[in-house]
């Protein structure tokens, strides 16, 4: 059979197309997300809050990403130091919140880093970096250095964008005067965030969302990068970790890692390590703000295993930036900012800036059992000094033995009419106990309730020879130290808050109250109505200065929106339009 050259080429091309399609499947399985973070300002005084809006966009469609549900915002200093870490809940590609800057924060240049876990697969290309300046409220010398900053544009009153025009009813306003803003020339509906802030004398360069999306977008990683694959957190936070043998320093596969936390009911979640010794645990809202107790089930005798968890905020690239000294004008600006914060603190006018956190939403406790066993209330009996005494006197179905000096607990199985050979699952204040000794010291004065299940119980694929659950009066589990093969870590709450910041119109009328604000308006969720004009309004304060109205956002069709315009506030009532 003979073939013409063109036929041969056609076959090869067809094969290559099929191959390309196959490799694309894997490419699509890895999300290509890009982060953008708008902050209310770029210069802060320690004690103030950073208000932010996080956009997570799909690099392919350029629309809001529907993949990641968890985002991370890190505040770091030069080198590798990190100051604050917050986790945010992303809803259809957007999230907002506020970060309260501790009063103790040192003056200097800082960087905010925003990202999702999935972005690590593209070598952090989708991460968003924003330099900011923070001055300590009590720093009088102000000798700190800044990142390369820019002076304000003298033409700041002119709108920056022809597509989305910001119009104000006037350009120059007096103190405590209402400002009406209208947004025009919009093509389609959009979700935006708006900040009206005093323009600092020097400010780190701020990228707009349009510039971010016009930059080189993340590329599909090659196989070498895939070795560090991070699952997109499309349901909740994923705790990544691994189990290693302390002696050989080798990873351990097939190890069962148990997770529980302090609660009134025994709770459990588990994962089995893979060939690389890695495990993943899904941290639903239930775990928000809780301490996590991780342990390894049934560590073989003579083996020393340990759990290592991944720092979800870890950065591959340290922040190294050349710093410059601030000008005297800049120092004057910082002193003014410090005074404003001082006044607001003195008059307690910072109520709208308090960092807020929400409680558990839709949190489901992964209960270890959903039925009732035998419940014993030690308070119904005479006081007993320790658990072995309790067992002897009021828990006939439990037996404590010694195996090579180590205590072992067994439960009488009513089905087989003998004590189970294996130890039961023991919970103390909801936490799976990694060492029996932790409960042996507990007497009836400390224990509120003991639940015993005599029959074998299954939890998913795991089977336990009975259950003993002890609830103490003062959460004794919190006073215990984790065993060598265990780990205890805090899972911070999801950061929220700062939905709308504006001066309360009622305050405007009280002349005795000093209202000095450098942030006049912050709205992280201003929905633009498409072709119709969108209006919003706010009040000026007693702080006469130049202000920037900055809008960033993304339209429904995936077009990034960036626009800015300025206004002037002068120390004069009843100002006429110039």
């Amino acid at each position: 059979m003979t073939m013409t050259l063109s036929k041969k080429i056609l076959i090869i091309l067809a094969v290559l197309l099929v191959a390309l399609f196959c490799s694309n499947i894997s490419a699509n399985a890895i999300s290509r997300e890009v982060a953008y973070l708008q902050t209310d300002r770029t210069t802060y005084i320690a004690g103030e809050s950073i208000f932010y809006k996080l956009y997570v966009l799909d690099a392919d469609t350029r629309k809001r990403s529907e993949i990641s549900k968890v985002g991370y915002v890190l505040l770091r200093t030069t080198g590798s130091g990190s100051s604050l870490k917050v986790r945010v809940r992303i809803d259809s590609g957007i999230a907002c919140g506020s970060i309260l800057l501790p009063d103790t924060l040192a003056s200097g240049a800082y960087q905010l880093v925003a990202f999702t876990s999935g972005m690590r697969n593209s070598q952090e290309q989708g991460f968003y970096y924003q330099d900011i300046t923070i001055a300590n409220r009590f720093d009088k010398e102000l000798k700190f250095k800044l990142v390369n900053s820019i002076a304000p544009d003298s033409n700041f009153l002119k709108p920056s964008n022809k597509e989305t025009v910001i119009k104000t009813d006037k350009k120059v306003y007096g103190l405590r005067e209402k400002v009406v803003v209208s947004l025009e020339n919009l093509v389609s509906k959009a979700n935006t965030s708006v900040s009206v802030y005093e323009i600092p004398v020097l400010s780190p360069r701020v990228k707009t969302i349009v510039e971010t999306m016009n930059n080189t977008l993340p590329t599909v990683p090659d196989n070498a990068q895939k070795l560090f694959y991070h699952s997109p957190e499309n349901k909740a936070k994923i705790l990544n970790g691994r189990v290693i043998d302390v002696v050989t320093n080798k990873v351990v596969n097939e190890a069962v890692v148990l997770l529980s936390c302090n609660d009134t009911v025994p709770n459990l979640q588990y994962a089995v390590t893979n060939a690389d010794g890695k495990f993943q645990l899904l941290l639903s809202d239930y775990y928000d703000g809780k301490e996590l107790f991780l342990t390894i089930k049934d560590v073989p005798a003579g083996q020393q295993l340990k759990i290592e968890t991944e720092d979800e905020f870890a950065q591959n690239q340290p922040w190294n930036s050349s710093l410059i000294s601030g000008s005297s004008d800049f120092k004057d600006y910082i002193v003014k900012s410090q005074n404003i914060v001082y006044i607001n603190k003195s008059y307690q006018l910072n109520n709208d800036l308090v960092d807020k956190s929400v409680g558990d939403i839709n949190s489901i406790c992964p209960q270890f059992y959903h039925s009732t066993g035998t419940t014993i209330l030690p308070s119904d009996f005479v006081s007993l000094d320790d658990f072995p005494e309790i067992v002897v006197e009021i828990l006939p179905q439990v037996l404590i033995t010694r195996d090579k000096g180590k205590p072992r607990i067994k439960v009488y199985n009513t089905l087989i009419k003998m004590f189970n050979r294996n130890s039961p699952a023991i919970f103390l204040d909801g936490v799976f106990v990694d060492d029996v000794n932790k409960i042996l010291v507990l007497g009836s004065e400390q224990i509120t309730k003991i639940d015993v299940f005599e029959v074998e119980r299954a939890f998913g694929d795991l089977v336990f020879s009975g259950v003993i659950s002890i609830v103490t009066k003062s959460n004794e589990i919190l006073n215990t130290k984790p065993a060598l093969h265990s780990l205890r870590l805090k899972n911070d709450r999801v950061n929220t808050g700062g939905s709308l910041v504006t001066i309360n119109p009622d305050q405007i009328l009280s002349k005795d109250l000093p209202i000095f604000k450098q942030l006049l308006y912050w709205n992280p969720n201003l929905e633009l109505k498409g072709k119709n004009t969108t209006n919003f309004e706010f009040y000026t304060s007693d702080n006469a200065a130049n202000y920037m109205i900055q809008i960033e956002g993304i339209s429904e069709d995936g077009s990034p929106i960036s626009s800015s315009s300025g206004i002037q506030v002068i120390n004069q009532p009843n100002v006429t339009n110039k």
């Binding site: 059979m1 073939m3 041969k8 076959i11 090869i12 094969v15 290559l16 099929v18 191959a19 390309l20 196959c22 490799s23 499947i25 894997s26 399985a29 890895i30 196989n223 895939k226 070795l227 694959y229 699952s231 349901k235 459990l268 979640q269 588990y270 994962a271 089995v272 390590t273 893979n274 060939a275 690389d276 890695k278 495990f279 993943q280 645990l281 899904l282 489901i364 992964p366 209960q367 270890f368 059992y369 959903h370 039925s371 089905l415 299940f453 029959v455 074998e456 119980r457 299954a458 939890f459 998913g460 694929d461 089977v463």
Partner: protein, 238 residues
């Protein structure tokens, strides 16, 4: 041509292999991130003559948990004698009673697209006191719903010579109980489906129901006809 085919096969294999590398480095997610069934070891006992299950063979099923989570494709049996969902833990082949309060609904999937739906209900009424929850087959869910408890009961005893000794066995057989849920959310119970007993439940509609049974030529004692009758009740304005 043969060489081109070899070449094509080689290129496709290389491309496919490129993807599989991802899976090998990622910990198994499905087993980790899905809700876990919880339950107690189930001892079947050997003192019964007859089948204690609604489905005697292990059937693939889905369970909707009271937490709202779904556990899919697990091996299940519904035990009508103890009113329990029995789950085969495939990792150790142990049989476990799924914690009843944790199960909201479950489906036994006999073949693709066909399943039998069960749910946990409480039929307590002021005159019958607080009753425990029961699992019922959902036959009709409408204004008048029909639920059937696939109960298996001990109907007698028999002494048999087994293992070199005379032993007493309990004879068990299906004794379905029918529950009609009224629009007022009250339940009417029928231990046996009989025309007279059924008509007694609706004294005010006796004439209309009698006519409906006669016109449609229904034998109320036959379960399929009884189901048709409840369907007709939903179509007619009562």
């Amino acid at each position: 041509m043969k060489h081109y085919l070899y070449f094509s096969f080689l290129v496709i294999c290389i491309s496919m292999h490129a993807q599989t590398n991802v899976g090998s480095v990622v910990p198994p997610r499905d087993s980790t991130f899905t809700a876990k069934l919880t339950g107690e070891f189930f001892y079947e006992g050997n003192k019964y003559l007859g089948v204690q299950y609604f489905n005697d063979n292990w059937t693939q099923g889905d369970i909707l948990l009271s937490s709202g989570e779904m556990v899919s494709n697990v091996s299940l049996k519904y035990n009508g004698l103890f009113d329990e969902v029995i789950w085969m833990n495939t990792s150790n082949f142990g049989k476990f009673k799924v914690d009843k309060s944790f199960v909201k609904e479950f489906w036994l999937k006999y073949e693709p697209g066909s399943s039998i739906h069960f749910k946990r209900i409480n039929v307590s009424e002021p005159d019958n006191g607080q009753q425990p929850d029961i699992f019922v087959e959902v036959v009709i869910e409408s204004r008048f719903s029909l639920f059937i408890q696939r109960k298996i009961s001990v109907v007698g005893t028999e002494t048999l010579y087994r293992n070199d000794a005379f032993r007493e066995f309990e004879t068990i057989e299906p004794t379905p109980v029918y529950y009609i849920k009224l629009p007022s959310n009250h339940y009417l119970k029928l231990n046996k489906i009989r025309r007279r007993a059924f008509l007694k439940l609706f004294p005010e509609k006796k004439k209309a129901l009698t006519k409906m049974i006669r016109v449609n030529d229904l034998n109320v004692s036959v379960e399929s006809d009884f189901v048709k009758l409840i369907e007709l009740m939903n179509k007619e304005v009562f």
